[in-house]
């Protein structure tokens, strides 16, 4: 999810940190390095560290994800639309898709089978669309609870 938001927002890490300040999450996420360390709990990453993420940290990451998708909603919607009408707006989808792949190559362990699945064209499209849809459905005031439920159900 965060990687998708980062694909849309070129200054993703900076925005995540700014949002954590705005949401008064400084106690849990005091700096960019903490956010980076938490994101390294993802086993697909090259720099994966098993750090046993705490519940407050998990909640904080969900809160900033929801807040960021709220800001990026118009862009998320445009990307979803571009895939619905591929003839008209294929440039938007291609740009998004290429940047997403670049970020995967840069950050993820491409030898992993799960990452290879992510790079596979057909499966990749489905994963991206579903992730964008989840993000777009969680922009309401109760979005935090919704996203938490979606993630726990995955």
């Amino acid at each position: 999810m965060l990687l998708i938001l980062e694909t849309i927002d070129l200054n993703g890490i900076g925005s995540l940190y700014a949002l954590s300040n705005r949401l008064n999450l400084n106690d849990v996420l005091p700096n960019k390095i903490t956010i980076w360390k938490l994101r390294n709990n993802n086993p697909l990453r090259k720099s994966y560290i098993n750090h046993n993420i705490k519940i407050e940290e998990f909640d904080a990451l969900i809160k900033i994800t929801v807040e960021m998708s709220r800001y990026l909603y118009p862009f998320i919607k445009k990307i979803l639309q571009s895939k619905e009408d591929s003839k008209m707006n294929s440039v938007i989808w291609c740009d998004f898709h290429n940047r997403f792949r670049e970020l995967i190559y840069e950050r993820f362990n491409i030898n992993s089978i799960r990452v290879k699945k992510l790079l596979n064209q057909t499966e990749n499209d489905e994963i991206i669309i579903k992730s964008l849809l989840i993000l777009s459905l969680c922009i309401s005031n109760e979005g935090y609870k919704k996203l938490k439920n979606f993630l726990l159900d995955f």
């Binding site: 909603y73 118009p74 919607k77 445009k78 979803l80 639309q81 895939k83 619905e84 009408d85 499209d125 489905e126 669309i129 579903k130 964008l132 849809l133 989840i134 777009s136 459905l137 922009i139 309401s140 005031n141 109760e142 979005g143 439920n149 979606f150 726990l152 159900d153």
Partner: protein, 196 residues
């Protein structure tokens, strides 16, 4: 009496709720508790309107369908008022059936972007303090699995897992002790040491 109107907007979708406050509950003038009409306006699509019962059913259908879509289950929702099916990953077919006879069903094709707009409009309505929807019928019948699938699973595990683990560990521990300590053998040994 002048009716209250409240609108909820999300990009290309707007939802208008028309109704009255419930004066018997001393509600504010701008509150809506008795919904008489509602209109769902989607840009470039026909206007959808109806009574409160229809709104509840349609909201339930969209929420259930979006949950199915995300949780990898076959995304199909069918009822006597509305059917929603996926054409493919990007386009969804909404069929609205009229309760009046001789009226052909209305078929609308919506993409993921419109689907999220519609659901966000419904979210705004649910979260609004100015509209009170009586969730008597459909919302209480939402299957628990659709509402909070894993939360309930986690709660179930939290309740039953600790006692099960403790009972298993006690049984394991006591069975090993029983294996180590054989009272019959001990008795025989004692008999050997002190012959009668």
């Amino acid at each position: 009496m002048l009716q209250n109107r409240l609108s909820f907007h999300q990009s290309s979708v707007s939802l208008e709720i028309i109704g009255l406050p419930d004066h018997s509950n001393n509600e504010d003038k701008d509150q809506i508790s008795i919904i008489s009409d509602w209109k769902l306006n989607i840009i470039d699509k026909p206007l959808i309107e109806g009574k409160i019962d229809h709104l509840a059913q349609i909201m339930y259908a969209f929420y259930t369908y979006s949950n199915l879509l995300i949780t990898n289950e076959t995304p199909i929702y069918e009822s006597n008022l509305i059917d929603i099916k996926a054409d493919n990953l990007y386009i969804h077919n909404v069929v609205l059936k009229s309760s009046k006879p001789d009226v052909k069903p209305l078929i609308i094709k919506i993409g993921n972007s419109l689907l999220s707009d519609i659901i966000n409009c419904f979210d705004q309505l649910n979260e609004s303090s100015k509209v009170r929807i009586k969730k008597s019928g459909f919302f209480n019948n939402i299957p628990k699995k659709v509402r909070f699938p894993l939360t309930s699973k986690v709660k179930f595990l939290n309740i039953f897992l600790p006692p099960i683990i403790s009972i298993c560990s006690i049984v394991l521990f006591s069975s090993t002790l029983i294996y180590l300590y054989n009272p019959l053998e001990n008795k025989e040994k004692n008999e050997l040491i002190i012959p009668r």
